[in-house]
């Protein structure tokens, strides 16, 4: 049953759920329904769990409200009060509409964040599987450090909400639907309304003035869409339209901006003109008077489109100068020359084509350059040969080679050859070092992969463990003890089966020695800390 401290916002009687009569309660943080006559709630959902709500269309006989949760489940409430069913349903819907957005963001954000992190980082995902799914540590502990790191070190881009821009085609997207008999039906959502306000600030002003005093929202929008302001023609006929003022305001605004001018000295707006070369490529001297009338007609039909374009582009054109114009508008004439110079210089100079400024270098001044002659080789014991030895050797060699004749049939004896072959065959004297290098080829790849996962998981646990030292606070004490039990559990559930498995496969190499060593170090550290603690207490 609801706790007494919960604030009840709305109570709706005669609401059926699953063909049972009952009452619907909307509270501060959840929505609940209890069958009639009983005090307990059979259905209760936190607003945070609700993804969205749906209502049955107006024409239907049954007036229903459906709640869809994040998990995908849905609950349907049928409002069965004969007189006020629709009002009840609408009241419930409005309240939910206000409450749901408040709770929505909090829950989603965290879950989304976590999911995103797991998806982006396969190593993290594997770690999560190894540690949390197999219940070595709890999910909270796992995320405790991770999310903390994320928030401190790296302000996620999700926190900085950028303004969503207006789609260029939004007006065209409001496609009216024919209503059967000569009417048009426009579907307006909050997004579209916002876009209209941003594009036409004059309309926003009018909205603020007229709604809800003079017109209802519906009427306002109907008039808006009917007005020629909205349509392309923009012919200002009739002053009954509240929107004709908007058109006049816009024109005034544009004119003032043009007069104000652009601060770019290389651009002169006032000298722009629509000059067309008439027949004769500008040379002919036909009197312009006869074509005056035609021109005005053409002009007026083009003027509307041109006005629309200008209205759209002007903010962009002038906004680039806002930083410089605000302060300098008064002294613009005084400052004009430097600005122009800067602009001209910018246009003619390219930074990367200019000569590089070579840094001044310092010459290398070596005192003992002979050290480089022999390089970093160790001193080897020199064989000193006496001059007598030299003379003897040279004479001997000379004597030997004077009558040198190649005797290629007596180069090798068979015994020598066979002993050389034995030495060179696999297992021979010279081939011994080869077998030691193949360790990563001897172990199958799944075993290697498992070992990597073990190392990652053990590393994570050990990191938590070692970060607790020095143990200053009771929180750290608890954490140390918890981590020790976690390590032991890890060793039992993950490491030992792995060891048995590789032993069964007759792999004689010791793959887990290092892991065990690390765990033993952690255990001994814990033991030392514990004995010290006991000594301190006694």
């Amino acid at each position: 049953m609801a706790s007494l401290s919960e604030e009840v916002l709305l109570v709706v009687k005669k609401v059926r759920q699953r063909k049972q009569d009952g009452t619907l309660y909307l509270m501060a943080e959840r929505i609940a329904w209890g069958p009639e006559g009983k005090d307990r709630f059979t259905v209760s959902h936190l607003y945070a769990d609700i993804r969205c709500q749906k209502i049955s269309p107006d024409g239907k006989a049954k007036i229903q409200l459906q709640l869809i949760l994040h998990t995908g489940e849905s609950t349907t409430f049928h409002f069965s009060n004969e007189s006020s069913a629709l009002k009840d349903r609408d009241a419930a819907k409005e309240l939910l509409q206000q409450l749901l957005p408040k709770f929505k963001k909090k829950a989603n954000k965290e879950l989304e964040e976590k999911n995103r992190m797991l998806q982006e980082d396969p190593v993290l995902f594997q770690l999560y599987k190894d540690l949390v799914v197999s219940q070595v540590i709890s999910a909270d502990e796992f995320w405790a450090n991770r999310l903390g790191d994320m928030n401190n070190s790296d302000p996620t881009p999700y926190n900085n909400k950028q303004d969503v821009g207006i789609s260029g085609a939004f007006l065209a997207d409001i496609r009216p639907q024919t209503d059967g008999c000569n009417g048009l039906r426009y579907n307006l959502t909050a997004d579209i309304i916002e876009s209209i306000f941003r594009t036409y600030p004059a309309v926003k002003q009018k909205y603020g003035e007229n709604v809800p005093h003079n017109l209802t929202e519906k009427e306002f929008w109907t008039r808006f869409f009917q007005s020629h302001y909205f349509h392309r023609d923009r012919i200002n006929t009739g002053t009954q339209d509240i929107f004709s003022e908007c058109a006049k305001q816009d024109e005034k605004g544009l004119k003032s901006m043009v007069v104000q001018g652009v601060k770019n000295p290389l651009v002169d707006l006032l000298s722009l003109e629509d000059k067309t070369l008439d027949e004769g490529y500008g040379v002919s001297t036909t009197t312009p008077s006869t074509s005056n009338a035609n021109r005005t007609v053409k002009e007026s039909s083009n003027a509307a489109i041109i006005k629309r374009f200008n209205h759209h582009k002007v903010p962009f054109f002038f906004s680039s100068e806002t930083s410089s114009t605000d302060g300098n508008s008064r002294d613009s004439d005084f400052f004009q020359p430097p600005v122009k110079k800067v602009r001209l210089q910018e246009a003619i100079e390219y930074e990367d084509l200019q000569r590089e400024n070579r840094l001044k270098t310092v010459a290398l001044n070596l005192k003992k350059s002979d050290r480089y002659a022999h390089g970093p080789v160790p001193l080897q014991s020199q064989h000193y040969t006496t001059s007598q030895d030299i003379i003897n050797s040279v004479n001997h060699i000379r004597h030997e080679m004077v009558n040198y004749k190649p005797n290629l049939t007596q180069v090798l004896s068979s015994t020598a050859a066979s002993s050389a072959i034995t030495a060179l065959s696999p297992g021979g004297v010279l081939m011994m070092t080869g077998t030691q290098q193949a360790i990563n080829q001897m172990i199958p790849t799944e075993v290697q992969g498992e070992l990597k996962h073990l190392y990652a998981a053990a590393g994570e646990l050990l990191r938590h463990f070692w970060s607790c030292f020095p143990v200053n606070s009771p929180f750290l004490e608890e954490k140390v003890m918890k981590m020790k039990t976690n390590l032991e559990r890890f060793q039992m559930t993950k490491l030992c089966p792995f060891q048995e498995k590789i032993q069964r496969q007759y792999l004689s190499t010791n793959l887990t020695g290092h892991l065990e060593e690390m765990l033993q170090t952690a255990y001994s550290k814990f033991h030392v800390w514990q004995t010290r603690r006991m000594l301190r207490k006694t």
Binding site: N395, Y404, Q410, L412, I421, P470
Partner: protein, 300 residues
């Protein structure tokens, strides 16, 4: 199987340091310079016999100079060729017999002209490698347009490393790497750090032979196949190369040290002035840490 158009050039650089070989002849008479040269000739013949388009060059690396044993300038003469071919008389592939005779003649000349000089007792290996690179470069330019040529260098090393040739050696190694030329090394006596680095950088094979008398067998087994064929064969695995540098002050090998940012000289201890370029340095002393500090996770 190499394609018809591909030319494989093998340049063999033989270390004929007379002092070392003279002493070797007295220490272990089984392997003398003559035997070594025989083995090299066998390898050269085998290489040329593999494909018609294979080419060979042999350079003798002496302590006075480096000398091209094959091919050399006297070869082009046609009449000489005729005489030699008939003189061998055993129906050998002409090219092989000509090559062998040339090599033998040249080495005789080189060794008889050896002078006794006390100051240079070390093999000019860096110079020979540079000559080999130049030869390879020339040949690849002389080849017809569109024909591919793949080259490699095999060094048969006898004497010890010379520390003074370090700079030139490293330059040669990097030049070979740029040209995609493999440098293989067959070391007879003492391990050579420079050649190990050369083989590691260029992608060649380094082998120190346990039995010198079986030199020919090792050469044929390990160094006859070219780089494409080596991927299909089981050959000795590359050895671990010690790339540690030696400090400039004591010439000890160090793993962690101090490097001057101006002249890049390496020291094992910090000194406020670099002795090579006389730049002054300041170093921050580590801050006093609290007695109870966080125990960092031990990483092995």
């Amino acid at each position: 199987m190499a394609s018809e158009d591909e030319i494989n050039l093998l340049v063999i650089v033989v270390d004929v340091n007379p002092i070392w070989w003279g002493q070797q002849a007295q220490r272990e008479p089984e392997l003398t310079l003559s035997k070594c040269l025989d083995a090299v000739m066998v390898l050269g013949n085998s290489h040329m016999a593999m494909t018609r388009t294979n080419k060979l060059a042999v350079i003798a690396s002496h302590c006075q100079d480096s000398h091209f044993l094959y091919p050399n300038k006297n070869w082009r003469g046609g009449d000489n060729g005729g005489e030699d071919a008939s003189s061998s008389g055993d129906g050998k592939y002409e090219l092989l017999s000509v090559a062998n005779n040339l090599i033998a003649e040249e080495i005789r000349n080189v060794m008889t002209k050896t002078e006794v000089r006390g100051n240079s007792t070390e093999t000019l290996l860096a110079g020979s490698l540079a000559k080999a690179l130049c030869y390879i470069h020339r040949v690849s330019k002389e080849v017809e347009v569109g024909q591919e040529i793949k080259s490699r260098i095999l060094v048969v090393k006898a004497a010890e490393d010379c520390a003074r040739q370090y700079m030139n050696f490293m330059n040669v190694i990097f030049a070979a790497q740029k040209q995609n030329i493999l440098i293989d090394a067959c070391v007879l006596d003492s391990d050579s750090g420079l050649l190990q680095q050369a083989c590691d950088i260029t992608g060649g094979l380094y082998l120190k032979i346990p039995q010198k008398i079986a030199l020919a067998q090792y050469l044929l087994w390990v160094f006859l196949p070219d780089s494409e064929q080596r991927s299909q064969l089981v050959l000795p695995p590359p050895a671990h190369v010690d790339y540690r540098a030696a400090c400039f002050c004591h010439r000890n090998l160090i793993e962690i040290g101090y490097v001057c940012s101006v002249c890049l000289s390496i020291f094992c201890n910090f000194s406020p002035i670099c002795t090579t370029c006389e730049t002054a340095f300041k170093i921050q002393l580590p801050q006093m840490v609290k007695p109870k500090k966080k125990k960092l996770k031990q990483s092995t």
